[in-house]
Symmetry: C2
Subunit: 260 residues, 2 copies
C-alpha cells in the first residue's frame, strides 16, 4: 500500500465545492471517479481542506492510500485523461503512510481577486469580483493589517460554523495591484489580489474579511474599525460575504518532510 500526495488545480465555477455532498457535483466526486476508472478502487480521498461552491484552487493537496502499482510518474496524465478539463492534477508523489493532508497542513494561503477596473474582463470574469466603483485601496490595506495575529474570528465566520473554537492565527496578509490591463485614459484602478496566510480558516472567513474590506474601500467603515469588528465577536458587525468566484485556495504548506 502506498500513500500518494497529489496537487490539483481547478476552475470551481461549475462545481458545488470540493467536498462530497448529497446530490452535489463536487471536485472530490470527480477525483474519486477518475481514480476508480483508473484503478478500480472505490476509495475516499483526504483533502487539505474544503472549498465552497464556485471557489477555485491552485495546487490544492489531497492524499489517498492505494494498492495500485501504477508508477508515480504516470498518475497525473492518467487521471487528467479521466477528469473534465476544468480539473487538472499537476503533481503526484509518495509520502509516509502517516501523512494526512488535512491534519498535517500548517499554513494555508487564500487569494481573493477584485477587479477595480471600470469594465469587467471577459477573460477573467469567472475568477474575479468586478467592483467598478472607486475603492480607497490604501484604506483597505490598513484595514487588512488588523486581522494579523491570533484572534477569535467569530465576526468573520459564517453563522453556520460548527467549530467549537473560532480562534485562528493569520501569519501574513498583503495586497498586490496588477495594472497591466488598465487603460491610461480611464478610471481603471487595476486588479487587486489579496493574499491571506493563516493556520486555518473558518467557513466564509476570507470572503467576509474581503466583504468588510470592500466596505472600508467604499468608505462605509474606517480602516481602524476592523479592530472593533473583530473584537465584537459578532457576525452582524462585519461586512457582507464577498462572492465565491473571486476566491482561490492559493497554497498549502506542510512540515519539511512532506512539503507541498
Amino acid at each position: 500500500m502506498r500513500n500518494l500526495l497529489m496537487k490539483v488545480n481547478y476552475d470551481g465555477t461549475n462545481y458545488d465545492g470540493f467536498q462530497t455532498q448529497p446530490k452535489g457535483n463536487t471536485i472530490q466526486d470527480r477525483l474519486e471517479q477518475a481514480i476508480f476508472h483508473l484503478t478500480g478502487e472505490e476509495l475516499k480521498i483526504i483533502a487539505s481542506g474544503r472549498t465552497d461552491a464556485g471557489v477555485h484552487a491552485y495546487g490544492q493537496p489531497f492524499n489517498f492510500v492505494t494498492s495500485s502499482q501504477i508508477p508515480l510518474e504516470r498518475w497525473c496524465l492518467a487521471l487528467n485523461a479521466r477528469l473534465p478539463q476544468d480539473i487538472v492534477v499537476t503533481e503526484a508523489r509518495e509520502v509516509p503512510l502517516s501523512f494526512h493532508s488535512r491534519r498535517g497542513a500548517k499554513r494555508k494561503t487564500y487569494r481573493y481577486t477584485i477587479s477595480a477596473n471600470r469594465f469587467p474582463d471577459p477573460f477573467q470574469r469567472r475568477w474575479q469580483l468586478h467592483h467598478p466603483v472607486k475603492l480607497d485601496i490604501s484604506a483597505m490595506q490598513q484595514g487588512l493589517i488588523h486581522i494579523l495575529g491570533t484572534h477569535d474570528f467569530t465576526s468573520f465566520a459564517s453563522r453556520k460554523s460548527t467549530k467549537t473554537s473560532h480562534v485562528r492565527t493569520i501569519f501574513e496578509a498583503h495586497m498586490e495591484i496588477d495594472r497591466t490591463m488598465c487603460r491610461s485614459d480611464s478610471t481603471d484602478q487595476g486588479v487587486i489580489h489579496t493574499y491571506i496566510t493563516g493556520s486555518g480558516f473558518l467557513q466564509h472567513m476570507v470572503r467576509i474579511i474581503m466583504g468588510t474590506l470592500i466596505n472600508v474601500g467604499e468608505g462605509k467603515f474606517q480602516a481602524d474599525e476592523v479592530a472593533g469588528i473583530l473584537a465584537a465577536c459578532d457576525r452582524a458587525a462585519a461586512g457582507p460575504t464577498a462572492m465565491a468566484s473571486g476566491l482561490a485556495l492559493w497554497s498549502v504548506e506542510y512540515d519539511d518532510q512532506t512539503n507541498g
Copy 2:
C-alpha cells in the same frame, strides 16, 4: 448623425467569429442586437476586420453611424447591459463621418498563445494552445524572423482565400515567454505569447504561421526552411493551421487623428 468608434473585448470561445453569417452566432450579431435594443436602430456596424470562430479580441475597433442622442459616456455601460458577459465594450468616441474602421486600419497586431507547460491550465485553457511536448523556442524565434517584411503569403493563407493579392507586410514579430506559472521541479517551458504586427492578414495567416513555427519547435522543419516555405507560394509547403482558441486580435492602429 454621429460616427461612433468603439472598442470591444470578447472571449470568442462560444461564437462563430466576428462577422455576421447565415445561422451564425457572431459577435457582430450580438453587438447589432444590443444597439437595436438601446436605440431602436437596425444598423450594420463596420469592424476593423474579421475574426474566425473561436478567436478572441482585446480592443477590436468597430464603428457605426447613429442618429441616437445618447451621450458618449453612457454608451459602454448601456451596451454592456445588453450584451452577454463574454462581450464587453470598453471605449466609445466620436470620429469624423469619413472614418471607416476597416479601410482606415494601418497596422494590426495578433497574439497567439501556446502553453508549453506540462499540464494544461484550467483557468487559461480557452485561450491557449496546450503543447506539452518539448519545443525549441529559440528555433521558433529564428523561424519567425523570416516572415518580417513584404512577401507573398500564399503559403500561409487558407486555400479558401478569395483575395486577389496575397502580398502583405509584417512590420514586427516577437515572442514573450511567461514563466510565472512554471513549477521549478518540472519540464514546464512557460507560456509563449507570439505577437505579429502587419499591414493586414489573410484568412488563417497567423494560425498557419504558428502551426509552421510549432513544427520548427518540434524539429520537423529547420528554422531557415521558413524562408523556402514562404518562397514556395504553396499552402502545402507550410505546417498545419494552429487551433483558433490560441489566437487573439491584440490591437489595431489608425492614423493619429483617430488613433485607437
